[in-house]
Amino acid sequence: MKISFPRMGYSYIALKWLVENLGHECIVPPEPSNHTLDLGVRYAPEFACIPFKILLGTYIEVARMGAEAVVTSGGMGPCRAGYYWVMHKYLLEEMGLPLKIIAMEMPLLNLGDFWGKIDYLRRGGGVSLKELLRVLKVTWAKVKAIDDIEIRAHQVRPREVRRGDTTRAINTGLDYIDAAQGEEEIRQARQEAMDLLVGVERDDERQPLKIGIIGEIYVVLEPAANHYIQLLLGEMGVETDRSIYLSSYTRKNTIINLEGDLFAIARPYLNEAPIGGHGVNSIAETILYARHGFDGVVQLAPFSCIPEIVAKSIIPAVSRDFDIPVQTVFIDEQTGRAGVQTRLEAFVDLLQWRRERRHKQGKKVFSI
């Protein structure tokens, strides 16, 4: 079967490997472009959030490229994302596109259904159970390696001497991961990619501003949806840390990892969790970034995203109490790259000014 999936950041490298090694043909979803968004906007409801529109556009594109099925995620709400696949199915039916949607609901809620769908994919590709487990393990290793490389790249970029070196290095590194076939090869590829990034000529004298990036998972993870915000900030000389990585849940070394703690941290401000999506997380993450001495936080969210609107209405209080500036960027099909860039530049200027002012005040205190 020709199978495709939604594109989210660089995860397509791992998912492509997964689909191919389950014995199916993989239609790699193209990077979301203006064309993708146009298609999505044409057929999607007006007030659907931007991930819905991009995904719909992607589905139409892959269907035209010959895909027979897409594997996607379900959910139990109350965020709309859990209902995406149902609406996508309705809309594709209306368009007359014969694309089958295989939605993976949460295994904890309905293990039978989850396993049934995995097993359907496994038998369709003619892969044994043992092989399936191996393939899943390797895929996970790829996801983790990709995230490791990305995290490092965002630390290196603000210090690079020649603009673009880091981006070139990470692209080559991801190609290594793409070509790796087993766990051992992935380990080596990861090491080589890291070496490339370490080899980027840096100016370690710089003390870049640090900005935490929080918000809704899709626009945080997919650079094409957030106008390459981390790249933009990196090239402005800002170090960024992102709250969400696909492999976050198994990590201990990132700032943001344990979900339960996040709910407890947010409780003084939002006494209910979860409220769907990453709403509560955004509030807690703002607090965490403030505690870790970050200079500012950028909240990314799709226009009309319900949980993030709740978060946005509460974040001003958090920002005031913890003295950390927060810039919210709502993204929709009208958002232009120049607009995002201007707002970010102004925000970075503000942070720079705050840092200098604090520095001066610090000196004064000592001189007295």
Binding site: P78, R80, G82, V86, G277, K312, I314, A317
Partner: protein, 330 residues
């Protein structure tokens, strides 16, 4: 004795009989905010986060209006009212879940909030847990709480039964509290039946939907809404969907729409939706596609702070003209 304020928005239109009777029977005074006006709407638009939907802004307006008039503001956190849905996890829109915090942090000079968490999904006696919590906060005895809850539930039941006899919720509220003789919908001649589905706070707030209900009644339309159906009739529609929605009010609107379409009771379907409502972006298109498949004429009416009476009237009249024309041709 406290003065407890209840904003006239959101769940007010379906749960007021229970809330008001309960609080009054506990010996406290209930202060309701006045019907929505330009003033209240403007206030809400000013105070609420600018990306919020109109109903949430409106709620902020009503809450702000009550500030200074009451000792406590009743703003319950509605989490769930039943165990329903594919995973038994039906809840409310995230904005309902975060509402007390949004209001508390967004508005200044508010009285303390009575923000009891209402989550009836896990327990059998959930109503009692909620009643006890409110009673404790208001300093009432348990016996008094129990009695007040019983009377509140009775008022709620009679409200429900009036609705199911074909009364619109606002008329039923009037009948429950003021003892007005329950009047059936009467008009000049009712030659057409239209199902109006949507959220109670969009349908029954005449200011925000520019008097849609009145316009329909003037045009000789018999109105049916999802609130006139019994739980059983509504929940039966569940099977027709690939997956239930996650939100209580949305499920009711969709089930209601599906019921009227499949039973053929209604000549047309009007969906009242609020501008920038998250769940409605799904509900609206779902109903539109289902209406097309059922062959039922469908009119979505999106309301926002700029909705004018003339705009709604024009669309409704055109819709009715089309329905009557179709009927004559048949």
């Amino acid at each position: 004795m406290y003065k407890v304020g209840i904003p006239r928005s959101l769940a007010y239109f379906v749960y007021l009989p229970l809330w008001k009777t309960f609080i009054t029977e506990l010996g406290h005074e209930v202060v309701e905010s006045p019907p929505t006006s330009r003033d209240i709407l403007d206030r809400g638009v000013k105070e609420a986060v600018n990306d919020a939907c109109i109903p949430i802004k409106l709620y902020h307006g009503h809450a702000a209006h009550l500030a200074g008039q009451c000792d406590l503001l009743f703003c319950p956190r509605l989490v769930s009212v039943r165990k329903h849905g594919d995973f038994g996890s039906e809840t409310f829109c995230p904005k309902f879940l975060g509402l007390p915090d949004m209001v508390r942090l967004g508005l200044k000079d508010l009285p303390p909030l009575l923000d009891t968490r209402i989550d009836l999904k896990p327990f059998g006696s959930g109503n009692w847990e909620v009643a006890r919590d409110i009673g404790q906060r208001l300093g009432n005895s348990m016996a008094r709480c129990r009695r007040a809850l019983r009377l509140g539930m009775a008022a709620q039941r009679s409200f429900r039964s009036l609705c199911q006899q074909g009364m619109l919720a606002d008329a039923a509220l009037e009948a429950v509290f003021n003892g007005v003789e329950p009047t059936r919908q009467t008009g000049t001649k009712q030659d057409i039946t239209i199902a109006v589905v949507g959220y109670p706070y969009a349908i029954y707030d005449p200011y925000i939907n520019a008097g849609l209900i009145k316009i329909l009644q003037q045009q000789g339309v018999k109105i049916v809404t999802q609130d006139m159906l019994s739980e059983r009739e509504l929940n039966r529609q569940n099977r027709k969907l690939p997956k239930t929605l996650f939100w209580y009010f949305s499920n009711r609107a969709v089930y209601g729409g599906l019921h009227f379409m499949s039973e053929g009771q209604a000549d047309g379907l009007i969906h009242v939706t609020a501008f920038a409502c998250g769940p409605d972006s799904m509900v609206d298109r779902l109903l539109e596609i289902e209406a097309k498949r059922h062959g039922t004429p469908y009119l979505p009416i999106a309301v926002d702070e700029h909705t004018g009476e003339a705009g709604v009237r024009t669309r409704v009249e055109a819709f009715l003209d089309m329905l009557r024309y179709q009927r004559r041709r048949r």
